[in-house]
Structure formats: C-alpha cells, structure tokens
Amino acid sequence: MNSREEWIMDKKKGIGLCICRMCPSFVDCKEEIAYCLAEKGTSACIKEEQGCLCPGCPVQAEEDFQHVFYCTRGSETGQSHAR
C-alpha cells in the first residue's frame, strides 16, 4: 500500500486549486503556495494567523485533509505526525 505522502495531490495541481492568496493571513513574498502540500516547513514570511480559508479550499476538500493554518503550522503530513 502506498504511503499517504505518495498518494497526495500533485503539487502543481494543488497550487492551481489553492486559495491561499485570498486569505487574510496571506503575505506575498513570492514563495510557493499550497502550504498544505509542502514537503517541509511553513511559510517564511507569514507569521501572524489572521484567519484561515483552508477549510473552504478545494485542495483540502479533495484530499480530505483535517488540519488548518498550514502556512504557519506546517503541512497536513507534518501536523498529522505532530500528533
């Protein structure tokens, strides 16, 4: 059986669907969005949680992700492992 890391959405597709740029927490520093899918780490420039659109994002819905604030707290995989 494939691991979760292997079957999650392709990053390019995720970036296309991602609504991060509409989020009140978003700070544009030209980094790659779709933080939920990021392999490691969080945003280098988003430091303040001003709200989260992830629960309404098609990436999250399609992937059945169960976390939020990926930009500041880490990817779905990262937050799942943190538990």
Binding site: G51, C54, P55, A61, Q66, H67, F69, A82
Partner: protein
C-alpha cells in the same frame, strides 16, 4: 472550586494597572481585586477574570479521557457547583480530564454553512477565528464528554447551544460519507435549575450527542431544581446542602467513567451504521 484553564480575557480596557472583566456580561472593573458583585449583571465576584493578553485556545493533542464542560454563563454558580462535584469524582477515580467553563471563551454562533450547501460544513470548521476549533479537537480526542447546564427558559444556556451547534462540522461527516470521529464515545449530562424544564433541557443536550454517535451512560442524566415558591437567591444554598445533588451528580459521573472504561468507542469502531439527520 477549581479551574483547569488559564484565565484569559480580551484586553478591551486601556486603564493602567489591574482590571477585571465579568465573564458573564463583560463589565470592566479596575482595581487590585474584583468587586464582590458585578454592578451590571449582579454576578458574584467569582465571575470576574483578570484582564490579560487574549490568547486563542489551542489544543496540541495531549491525550486525556474526559472533557467536562460547564455550559453556564456563570462559571462559579449553581452549574459550576455541579461541575465541581464532577471533578471530585474524576479525581477520585484517577481519570485524566479537562474542565472548561465556556463563559471564559469566545465561541461564535454557528455560521450554518450546512444550510448553504451540505458539503460546505465539514471538520475542520470554516470558522477558525475563535476558540471552538480547539474544542472540536478535544471533543474528538476525548473518550467521554460530561456537560453541565443551567435551565434557561426550559432550555440549555444560549452559550452552550452555541457550543453544541458548532459541533455540526463533526456530525455532518456522516452525511458526507466520511468516517465518524465521535461514534461510540460516552456522554453524561448534569442540569441545575430553579423550578422546571430539567428533563427537557437534558434531552435537548442529549439529542446533539445522539446525532454524533455518543452513547448515553447508564443513569447518565443527573438533575436537580429548587422550586418556584423560592427566591432564586436561595437556590445556591439549597443545591449545595442537598445530599441528593451530590448523590445524583457523583453517581452520573461514576457511571460515565465506568461506561468509558468498557471502551465502547474502540469496540464499536467500524460496526455502527450512522442513523442521523
């Protein structure tokens, strides 16, 4: 009376020095100590919280067994006393638990995303702006929930209803054909009031948990009211001196713990058919 949560309140006073906020109505009182009674809502001094920097409630996944919710607007009055009794049993039985007086927290009204489109309401909740997302995670993490409520107009408190309404994102997973996150967990309910409406209040609360797949503990509802012939100022004295209150609330909590220890959640995993709205 004990509290298991740090005191936190929104700093909405610019006054220098210490200030206290009534958790019931929001009245701000400056000074080294809180007033004995809130001049705005008549709450006792125990309802006042020292104003500190507001921090959103976070839950980082620490394991515990029982989530104890005091659903009253008054954290330290009659319903708070029932929650104190529940804590005594949980400590005696060496159960890991967390108690929250919801008047100390920010819980927004449910946005009812469900009523726009059924798949718009799903865990995690779209409203990440208040303390409720941490409560969602704690409801999912705990094995049992004990809810204490006053009777307000033959119903639970409005604050508690907001809390329970916000569990919709977990309940709605059934509709979306997603695995349930609460089925087989155990619930117990304690209700205190002045005169009538106790069983209705308890059943209203239970219906939420029934829809979430919870099992009501045997003898899992404890309630006690005083009487219409009395002034409400005497309710507290009555409840605190009535042995039936202790017997019923402590018995209910005992039953919740014993039921929880049967591990129905684990034993029923994958075997239940969700039948709910």
């Amino acid at each position: 009376m004990s509290f298991t949560v740090p005191v936190e309140a929104k700093p909405d006073s610019l006054m220098p020095g210490k200030a206290w906020k009534c958790a019931v109505c929001g009245y701000i009182s400056p000074g080294e100590s809180p007033p004995s009674e809130c001049p705005q809502c008549a709450g006792t001094g125990k309802e006042f919280i020292e104003i500190t920097e507001k921090k959103t409630l976070r839950y980082k996944g620490e394991m515990f067994d029982v989530l104890l919710i005091n659903g009253s607007s008054h954290r330290a009055n009659n319903t708070g006393y029932l929650a104190d009794l529940a804590e005594e049993v949980l400590r005696e039985k060496k159960v890991s638990y967390r108690r929250y007086n919801i008047s100390e927290f920010t819980i927004n009204h449910c946005w009812c995303c469900y009523s726009m489109r059924d798949n718009a309401c799903r865990y995690p909740c779209r409203d990440q702006l208040d303390d409720m997302p941490a409560f969602h995670d704690m409801v999912i993490a705990s094995k049992a929930v004990i809810v204490a409520s006053p009777i307000n107009w033959n119903n639970m408190s409005a604050r508690l209803k907001d809390f329970l309404d916000r569990l919709n994102c977990i309940q709605n997973l059934y509709l979306l054909k997603k695995p349930g996150l609460t089925e087989g967990k155990v619930v117990g309910i304690a209700v205190s009031g002045h005169e009538d409406g106790a069983t209705k209040t308890a059943m209203d609360i239970y219906l939420y948990f029934q829809q979430l797949g919870y099992v009501l503990a045997p003898f899992g509802i404890a309630y006690r009211v005083h009487g219409a012939q009395f002034n409400t100022i005497t309710d507290t004295e009555f409840l605190k001196n009535d042995p039936l209150v202790i017997q019923k609330v402590k018995g209910m909590v005992n039953n919740v713990v014993e039921m929880m220890r049967l591990d129905s959640e684990e034993k029923l995993k994958g075997k239940l058919v969700p039948v709910c709205e």
